[in-house]
């Protein structure tokens, strides 16, 4: 089994040779993690796509790290020929979260980038269509940021029904509101 990581080691060596700032680690067979401090992503992605045959962009995900004051974008790439999954992790500054779009390389990156823009507030330079994606007319903090206080927002915007917060039965309040009897469910005879 000594030759099983051969392909991975080759890829690691060629990435290290071409991009010195990339930190490559082999997690296990068929899985490589590349870490970046941001900045050179489009060139690096096209290098992976054109020279190392990682043709398929599976997804882009975004992670919020308020502890480090950073956003992390994870690009999942897949090579059909070598059956290797590469995760390219890019760290962005949280205050000025800005990076270049990957839509020239993969058209479907547009959707993922729109979602990350909406949910985390990361700007993608050169993105063709940065409209609302799922949310409509959202003017608060992007909701998937960890400093967005969901509970406080809900308390402020929506009305609770009495009985919800203290986990009591809400049938009583509905019955009072509509002047009807409280429905009685007899579960004891089962």
């Amino acid at each position: 089994m000594s030759d099983t990581l051969q392909k991975e080691e080759q890829i690691k060596a060629s990435i290290n040779a071409a991009f010195r700032s990339a930190k490559v680690s082999i997690q296990r067979k068929g899985r490589i993690i590349v870490e970046f401090r941001g900045g050179i992503l489009p060139a690096f992605a096209s290098y992976l796509k054109e020279y190392l045959n990682f043709k398929h962009l599976s997804m882009i995900s975004g992670v919020d790290w308020p502890e480090d004051n950073q956003f992390e974008l994870v690009y999942h790439l897949w090579s059909y020929e070598q059956s290797i999954h590469v995760m390219v992790k890019v760290r962005l500054d949280r205050e000025a979260a800005k990076t270049k779009t990957l839509t020239p390389l993969w058209e479907h990156a547009e959707t993922y980038e729109r979602e990350i823009h909406e949910m985390l507030g990361v700007e993608f330079e050169g993105h063709p269509n940065m409209r609302d994606f799922i949310l409509e007319d959202w003017d608060d903090l992007p909701p998937m940021r960890r400093d967005f206080m969901t509970r406080e927002y809900v308390d402020e915007v929506y009305e609770w029904r009495k009985g919800r917060e203290d986990a009591q039965d809400v049938r009583q309040t509905i019955a009072e509101q509509y002047n009807t009897e409280v429905p009685n469910f007899n579960n004891e005879d089962k």
Partner: protein
């Protein structure tokens, strides 16, 4: 003998006819819509109670809110509801319409449906089974028969209050004004 017995008799006939032809708008929000096909098809066969699906809001009588309502969907639902012809009935279906259900702390779903639309009847459960749905429809028929299912009148009378609630969550209000 009552003086307006003719009107009263007409009302009784109209209610009898209405309760036996409940046309449900084929519109599903949230996950509850998955319970509608078994309710409508041969196993539970809701059509024996006169309940059937209808494609357009202008021909439908019942608006079923099947589950959670996102704010984005609420805008469409309000517009749909206002296009429906009176008398029209709203059924809140599942826990989410009652108190938010499992989306109780979600930033994007409403918690109390009856703040935004006049709900005639709630069916609880997550999800209510087809038996529960049919039970709710039978309750609604009873309410129609006794003249208590008049949420549409309540909506007309308290339009200002409903509008205030609706505009509180729907930030960009670009909707046509309907008049009755």
């Amino acid at each position: 003998m009552k003086e307006d017995w003719g009107k009263e008799a007409g009302n009784i006939i109209a209610r009898w006819a209405r309760k036996h032809s409940l046309w449900v708008l084929a519109y599903g929000t949230g996950c509850g819509a998955i319970e509608i096909p078994p309710t409508m098809t041969s196993r539970y066969d809701a059509e024996r109670f006169g309940i059937t699906g209808m494609a357009t809001p202008r021909q439908a009588d019942v608006l079923l809110i099947t589950g959670y309502l996102a704010v984005k969907t609420l805008k469409r639902v309000i517009r749909t509801y206002e296009q429906m012809q009176s008398p029209k009935y709203v059924m809140g279906f599942g826990s989410c319409t009652i108190n938010g259900g499992m989306y109780w702390d979600s930033y994007n779903t409403i918690k109390r449906l009856d703040d935004y639309l006049p709900v005639d009847i709630f069916i609880n459960g997550c999800m209510p089974r087809p038996e529960g749905v049919i039970d709710g429809f039978i309750e609604l028929q009873k309410l129609i028969d006794s003249g208590q299912a008049n949420g549409w009148k309540k909506y007309q009378d308290n339009l200002e209050w409903y509008r205030t609630n609706q505009k509180k969550v729907i930030k960009n209000w670009k909707m046509p004004d309907y008049n009755w």
